[in-house]
Symmetry: C2
Subunit: 331 residues, 2 copies
DNA sequence: CTGAAAGCGCTTACAG
DNA sequence: CTGAAAGCGCTTACAG
């Protein structure tokens, strides 16, 4: 059976296509009579009318797609949760969220958005300036650098605050000589550098010596070396803040094999609150994030960029409420 | 600056729009002269012509979107990897992959595909028959139940084989009384039931007693109870196959606190090869999966459904090559 | 071997 | 307050 078009609705309701379009798009300024409005709405619903995305996109020169360019981040639970939440809240607003995982090798971006004509492009990292330029040329709005330190207001999620929170917790528990487990993976730098910077600034603010940074990988050997470095120096460290839970768990495993007691000999705090972190022995203290809240914040920003009405949810979580300290047994 | 259209290419190449369309879509049957072809191709490239998705979709009544309906699975690393790989290989074939995470509460599906007019719908679980019906009505091809046991040929990824492989490995190492750690989460059933079934069938085939199944959650208390049940019965179990690595890690943690030696008192095998699994002490034996290979298989199926030419890659991994046993220290 | 023309479904400037 | 008409960019049946 053929599709129901706005022409069908018009004929059935005894009005013109113009009127149907005005009613369905809520264009008040043309002052349609209440009765006409009602009849059109009722007819559209009765016939099961669904507007054609293609027709609208062709006419307006702009689709209802929000194109999210995601750099080559490692797959991480937290990022997946965020993407999921963003997709949901945008779809409630009538937009389709498409993630482009861009590792540089793929199709030139310029080609893609000429083809798709997205309503907005959202870049999780920083878009190369050539791409930003080409978007400007195509008059497609861009939300750039969503997860970069300068744009924490977009999500309310500050990587620096994460590092700061870790240090503040350790300091509050009496630690003064603190180690930092950094990750030796260039793809994580957008997160790891600001977290470390936050930790360093916090130490400074609290009058503590700068954290003793050791760069490590996800391996036992690497964790063993790191622990040795922290504990065998002139002024041994009594606590370690790790870039994320996975690194913290590696350190934890290493402590066991080296018979270092956690938290008494060495306290430990991660970031992410992975499911597995609460299962560790001892259970890992960590930082949790309200990723749904962060995604809602971003959605609000996206919608205001396309000039859409603010989202239904009146209560955007404030930046400070996005992060939570989850205190378990390793501190 | 305004967009370059096929009309522009036609004018510039001194031919009609018809000819441009034929050349660019490679319609041989109309017998265009080689010289015309060359000139059109050259002009299109020179002007930077990119076809409009909206224009094409409107005309053909079908977009180039592949809509993947993903049921309410918990976020799992393996599934994310698979989705990433599928998105990549489809985009190479000129299709845009959109994931719809459907938890039942969202927009009616029928509305969505009237709006988007996808080229194919791919359902990771089983689509409700009303939805399948509505797709048929709209003449949109459907690949249904991608991860259900009846359709393992679509990806080459058999959940049953996973359970079977676990048991075969444990049996080969001399175990006869085997426990199975099942997950008590209804959302995982599409994976957990077939895995358990594969394990049970394998025991049967090998002449072993059926596995002693304990249903558990991701918590220490739950793991402790499970271990008690396995070890304190009349015929204690000497090995445990777990639904996934996370559950296996919970069991492993519990064994430590109960001073049960792994693998000597109790051997343990998981599924997924999580990054954290190689860090555990002792390191976890598990089943790894070639998810890129599985995604390539699915892409081939999708492309043949839309009548597209087979993908460039001539070598689809065979079903048997998707799974690998990763032998570490817990068995 | 190639082109003029119609039409996919929508929105909006314009006319009444 | 409402409608007729044009046009977004594409593909294809038809005519030459």
């Amino acid at each position: 059976m053929p599709r129901v078009t706005s022409k069908d609705v018009a004929r059935e309701a005894g009005v013109s296509q113009t009127t149907v379009s005005f009613v369905l798009n809520g264009r008040e300024e043309h002052g349609l009579s209440a009765e006409t409005r009602r009849r059109v709405l009722e007819t559209a619903k009765r016939l099961g009318y669904v507007p054609s995305g293609a027709g609208r996109a062709l006419r307006k020169g702009r689709s209802n797609v929000v194109l999210c360019v995601v750099p080559d981040f490692p797959v991480a639970e937290a990022m997946e949760q965020f993407k999921l939440a963003l997709g949901r809240s945008l779809s409630e607003a009538g937009y389709t969220c498409v993630y482009l995982h861009h590792d540089g090798t793929a199709t030139p971006l310029a080609e893609l958005w000429q083809h798709v004509q997205p309503a907005v492009v959202v870049s999780f990292g920083s878009l190369p300036s050539a791409d930003a330029q080409s978007l400007r040329g195509a008059e497609i709005p861009l939300l750039d650098g969503v997860f970069t330190p300068d744009n924490t207001r977009l999500t309310g999620l500050s990587q620096q605050d994460i590092g700061r929170l870790q240090i503040e917790h350790l300091a509050a528990r009496g630690h003064r000589h603190i180690g930092y487990a950094a990750l030796d993976d260039p793809r994580e730098r957008p997160f790891s550098l600001p977290r470390l910077r936050g930790a360093t600034l916090a130490c400074d603010d609290l009058g503590l010596p700068a954290p003793q940074v050791v760069s490590m990988r996800y391996s036992r050997a690497s964790a063993r070396d790191a622990v040795a470095e922290w504990t065998q120096g002139a002024t041994p460290v009594t606590a370690v803040a790790a870039f994320n839970d996975l690194l913290a768990l590696a350190v934890l495993a290493s402590c066991r094999t080296q018979h270092i007691d956690v938290p008494d000999d060495l306290a430990l705090i991660g970031v992410d609150d992975l499911p597995v972190s609460s299962l560790a022995v001892p259970a890992l203290t960590t930082i949790g994030m309200d990723l749904t809240g962060a995604a809602d914040n971003l959605t609000a920003g996206i919608l205001s960029t396309v000039g859409a009405p603010a989202p239904a949810a009146p209560c955007r979580p404030a930046a400070g409420d996005i992060l939570t300290l989850i205190h378990r047994e390793t501190t």
